[in-house]
Structure formats: C-alpha cells, structure tokens
C-alpha cells in the first residue's frame, strides 16, 4: 500500500494504491496536510487502484474534507469501484463528498 502525490494544473492528485485502513490512514492524512500547509487548495483523491477502505479510512477522508474546507479549499473523490461506492452509500458519505466516475471529470469539476 502506498500513496503517490502528483500535480495536475492547480489540483493535487493523490493516488491510493492498496488499502486505506487503520494501519496507514495517518500517512495519507499527513501527506495531504503537508500539501495544505504549503498553500495548496484543490485536492483530488483517486481510488482507481484501491482495494478497500475501513471506517478509519472513511474517518480520515471526513477529517481531511473538514480541514481543507476550513482553509478555503476543496476535496473531490474519483474512481470508486462498486465495493467502495456501496460503502459510501451505506454510510451516506456519498452525500458529503463530490464523487466523479473518472479522474478527468473530477479535474474538470474544480
């Protein structure tokens, strides 16, 4: 599992490779907060290479969403597979996040 960060225009894109669970959520949180501290405002987390997310991972996304919004920024999500989509629907977090089918659509939505 790893997180890679790249920049596409003004958007910081984070790819989550593997799982986003209790054992690695802090790593993702820190990486995004570091970028936020540098002054970045637009964030996209791409889950196209993600296996599954647990409640801790969902909690970190909620936390990041709050912190980014507090700094006047935006967080968008993209490429949820069927399992992840179900997870977001079950927890109703699909109503909290702006979720796109593809990275391109997400990037265009900023």
């Amino acid at each position: 599992m790893s997180f890679s960060i790249s920049k596409q225009g003004e958007v910081v894109v984070v790819d989550v490779e593997g799982q986003l669970i209790v054992g690695n959520r802090q790593e993702l949180k820190q990486k995004v907060l570091d970028e936020l501290e540098k002054g970045e405002k637009k964030f996209l987390i791409d889950f196209s290479q993600t296996g599954y997310i647990d409640s801790s991972g969902l909690g970190v996304l909620v936390s990041l969403s709050k912190k980014i919004r507090e700094q006047g920024g935006e967080l968008r999500l993209a490429n949820l597979n069927d399992d992840l989509q179900t997870l977001f629907e079950l927890t109703k977090l699909d109503t909290l996040f702006q979720i796109s089918d593809t990275r391109e659509r997400a990037l265009e939505s900023f």
Binding site: M1, I21, V22, I53, D54, S56, V60, V62, L87, K92
Partner: protein, 140 residues
C-alpha cells in the same frame, strides 16, 4: 446444518500492521469456499477489518504484549468469524450514535460497529476465554 470445519485459525500480536495479512488470508479462504466474490471482497474484508482494529485498539488498548485470535468456522449454511481479544468487552446493544444521521455525518469515528452490523448477517459479542466478537455470514 452440515458438518462444521475450521477454515482459519490465527493469532496475531496486538498491532494494526498485522491486520492486512489476516484479511488477505480470510478473503482467500472466503473465495475458496465459493462464497459470492462481492461478499468476500466487501463484506468480509471490511467487517473483519473493523472487528480486528476494534480488538487491537479498544479491546487490547493497543498493548503490544497482547494478542488477538481470529478463527473462522464454515458449514453448509454459514461462515463464522470469531475475533477474540483480551479486553473486558463492550455493550453491543448500547445506543451507539447512528453515523448516517445528518448531524453525525461529519464524525471522524463511530462507523466501525455500524459497518460490521450492516455488512454481516449477524454480529454477537460474548466472553469465552476472552472477549469474542462473532461475525456470521450466511452462504445463501
């Protein structure tokens, strides 16, 4: 109900870094038992991760010298996971906040038990040589 057999029996140190390995093993076993792929990739993986992290962080208080045991028993009707920690247990029937209510959506914690209960057919907790959380998935 047909004969039951043990499909998995592992003990791990109380450390969240061990969770992923156990989940991988459990998911593989789940697929070998011809349980629908979606139930293995979503229901088992997420619910068992929740039970394990709860056992390690809350049950065992993140104490590195403690252990968590995961045992899976399968029969014609169901796949049952017992996750045992060394803690005093918790009240499953307590009035836990519903994380899907609009006022709770921004909560960072509090979705673990909810997910176990939504993704498994039955969730139980009892004492038996430790605090056991039992997750049951019917094979349909």
């Amino acid at each position: 109900m047909g004969d039951s057999r043990v499909a998995l029996d592992v003990e791990i140190p109380s450390d969240v870094r061990y969770i992923e390995g156990v989940i991988e093993l459990a998911t593989r076993k789940c697929r070998e038992l011809s349980i629908p792929p979606r139930k293995c990739s979503l229901n088992v993986r997420v619910a068992l991760t929740e039970a394990l992290s709860n056992a390690i962080l809350r049950g065992n208080g993140d104490a590195a010298d403690k252990h968590v045991r995961v045992r899976a028993v399968v029969n014609d009707d169901s796949l049952v996971f017992d996750v045992t920690d060394e803690g005093p247990g918790f009240d499953l029937s307590a009035d836990w906040p519903d994380p899907t209510k609009p006022e709770n959506l921004m909560m960072e914690d509090g979705r673990g038990l909810f997910l176990m209960q939504r993704l498994m057919d039955r969730v139980e907790r009892f004492q038996s040589d430790g605090n056991v959380v039992r997750l049951t998935l019917f094979r349909e």
